[in-house]
């Protein structure tokens, strides 16, 4: 069978192609390994000559995220991509955008840290992404792709969510998904929105449109009156509660009759799946639970599964970050153990199997 429209490309390239195809208005980014292919691919594809999308290499990640603040604040679909140290630099801007309720897409193709760390893959920005790396009480919607296909699919989804809730949205990927080549079907082409469409979708946007018939739009994170500021925070928390109720995404694999559950996200979930298959062949009833939205975390769904389990293993490419969300969700119903490879080392399915057996099956 010949599959149509199937292409072979890196996850980073898929992000670039998907951005153009889903009507992105502007990309602003700064080179950093292992994600520079996003900016390189966009620069080669020259979307400014076709869809009219702006592509700009910024002077820093700090500038890039603030270009998103400006672009998103004016109602445009804007995005950036970076890797861990660069995303650390962006945290100020993300906090401001969350506070001013400005939609935008940030892609983090994670590498090992802390500091300059390594250019090898990692998942050690989980907490920065889900708990909030900047100042203040805020949340960013976080999507975790585990394939090149999801890299492509999540671009449009991220924009839809960002504009639906007026909130920054992050695709939290890693060096494995960004660099590996895989089959992908690119999303359908969606035209960029016209000025009238932007005005209809974003009546709050700062672009002057129709100013004579409305009050000026002002986007700011500043408020000097603590009572007004408290109310603004409460409104944001209300929005976050709605997102928690409506936007949880996850995938279950052989969870229904499982004794042991692997909870893993991103590329580690792929190894987890292979580990589950091997364990099943050995007669051990294992399953995989993959959070797709890391914030909001699928806590209720995991909570319901946990009651009849003999144990949960959380394999991650970090020193133990998502495991805290798993513990909060499970609320002590079953033992939870961690397996981590850190510093840029990618675990193998065999290591995950071994860890599960050692920690749960005496």
């Amino acid at each position: 069978m010949i599959e149509e429209n199937v292409e072979l490309m890196k996850g980073n390239e898929a992000i670039a192609h998907a951005a153009i195809r889903c009507g992105c208005d502007g990309y602003f980014g700064y080179p950093i390994t292992p994600q520079s292919e996003v900016l390189e691919t966009l620069s080669e594809l020259k979307p400014w000559e076709t869809s009219g999308m702006v592509v700009l290499q910024a002077e820093s990640e700090v500038a890039a995220i603030n270009m998103l603040y400006g672009g998103g604040g004016s109602g445009k679909r804007v995005m950036t991509s970076s890797s861990s140290p660069g995303v650390a630099l962006m945290q100020e801007g993300i906090s401001y955008m969350a506070a001013a309720e400005i939609p935008a897409l940030i892609v983090n193709v994670q590498r090992g840290g802390p500091g300059l760390g390594t250019i090898q893959p990692s998942q050690s920005d989980y907490r920065q992404a889900t708990v909030g790396g900047g100042n203040g009480d805020y949340n960013v919607i976080v999507l975790a792709p585990n394939s090149v296909q999801e890299m492509a699919d999540f671009v449009d989804l991220a924009f839809e969510l960002a504009f639906k809730y007026r909130n920054p949205t992050m695709i939290l990927s890693d060096g494995v998904i960004g660099q590996m080549m895989e089959k992908v079907v690119l999303p359908p082409i969606k035209p960029r929105r016209t000025e009238e469409e932007i005005a209809a979708e974003c009546p709050w946007a700062v672009n002057g449109h129709g100013l004579k018939h409305r009050k000026p739009n002002i986007l700011t994170s500043l408020e000097m009156d603590p009572h007004v500021m408290e109310q603004r925070n409460l409104d944001m928390q209300k929005k976050y509660a709605t997102i928690r109720e409506t936007e949880v995404r996850y995938e279950e694999y052989l969870c229904d009759d499982a004794d042991y559950l692997l909870v893993a996200f991103g590329c580690v979930a792929r190894m987890g799946k292979e580990a589950v298959d091997t364990l099943r062949r050995e007669g051990i009833k294992a399953g995989l639970f993959r959070p797709i939205t890391l914030w909001p975390f699928p806590e209720e769904q995991l909570h319901h599964l946990a009651g009849r389990l003999k144990g949960i293993l959380v394999p991650e490419m970090n020193a133990g970050q998502m495991i805290y969300d798993v513990r909060l969700a499970v609320e002590g119903q079953t033992p939870i153990k961690h397996f981590g490879r850190i510093g840029g080392v990618v675990p193998t399915p065999d290591e995950i199997i071994l860890s599960l057996k050692q920690q749960f099956i005496p």
Binding site: F28, V62, Y69, G70, V206, N207, G208, N217, S221
Partner: protein, 253 residues
């Protein structure tokens, strides 16, 4: 002649720009900000750009600029206004996009964003209020603080050994290939206000004609921060600031 007879359109010699909001200003009496705000409001109105303006304010004394001029505003993080403006102008090419920044915002924390936006030739205007001090936070040393000048963080006077030299961003901007119009003005006399208005209008028109990036510095007084009366502050500015920050057009292509 009664008051009602006098207040007639044909007798009108001056009116507050309609874009200036009817709210009390938080600026100190004697401060230059109010005058510059008025000029900007007048120019936007005269150019008929009310529905095509994206204004970006800084962190610093002008953080509340959005309260006073009745157009759409984005309030940027400290120093980042030129990055916001870059994206806005690139994606809204028919808009008048300008930033309004003080010396701490523009010449210190935002020096990188400022230089790069100017050097890329972004079709924007940057209004730069230079009063050589951090006004909003209570009078600390700025990158533009003059040598010998006393502030709360250089209470014995700025010295090169301890604090380095005043940074002349506007002179630097004039050397960048991306800038089209670079000018330094003041608003301490009626004549100066007229010249400043002409410069800002030229910069705004330039940014709409796509000529390149535009920077208008307004050498300003900060009587509160300088601990002087408004009149004395203006005198001090003429005697000291203008010696280091020379007024006039530095570049006009």
């Amino acid at each position: 002649m009664t008051k009602e007879e006098i207040i007639q359109p044909e007798n009108l010699v001056y009116a507050k720009p309609t874009l200036m909001n009817e709210v009390g200003m938080h600026y100190c009496p004697g401060c230059s900000h109010g005058v510059v705000h008025k000029l900007i409001a007048e120019i936007i109105e005269e150019m008929g750009m009310e529905e095509k303006t994206i204004a970006i304010c800084p962190v610093g004394c002008a953080v509340f600029a959005y309260r006073y001029i009745d157009v759409d505003w984005l309030e940027a993080a400290h120093g980042r206004a030129p990055a916001l403006a870059t994206a806005c102008k690139r994606m809204w090419q028919d808009r008048l996009v300008f930033t309004y920044q003080g010396d701490g915002d523009l010449a210190c924390i935002g020096a990188c964003e400022t230089i790069h936006a100017l050097n890329r030739g972004e079709k924007i205007t940057i209004i730069f209020i230079n009063n050589a001090i951090y006004g909003m936070t209570g009078g600390q040393m700025a990158p533009t603080t003059l040598l010998g000048m006393k502030t709360s963080t250089c209470p014995y006077g700025r010295t090169p050994e301890l604090h380095g030299y005043p940074l002349n961003m506007t002179d630097m901007a004039a050397t960048l290939e991306g800038t089209a119009f670079v000018s330094r003005q003041s608003v301490h006399t009626v004549a100066a206000i007229r010249k400043a208005k002409k410069a800002i209008r030229h910069a705004f028109e330039n940014s709409m004609n796509g000529k390149g990036s535009n920077l208008v510095e307004i050498v300003s007084s900060c009587n509160s921060g300088w601990k002087a009366s408004p009149v004395k502050a203006n005198e001090w500015m003429e005697e000291n600031m203008f010696k280091y920050y020379h007024l006039g057009d530095l570049k006009d292509i």
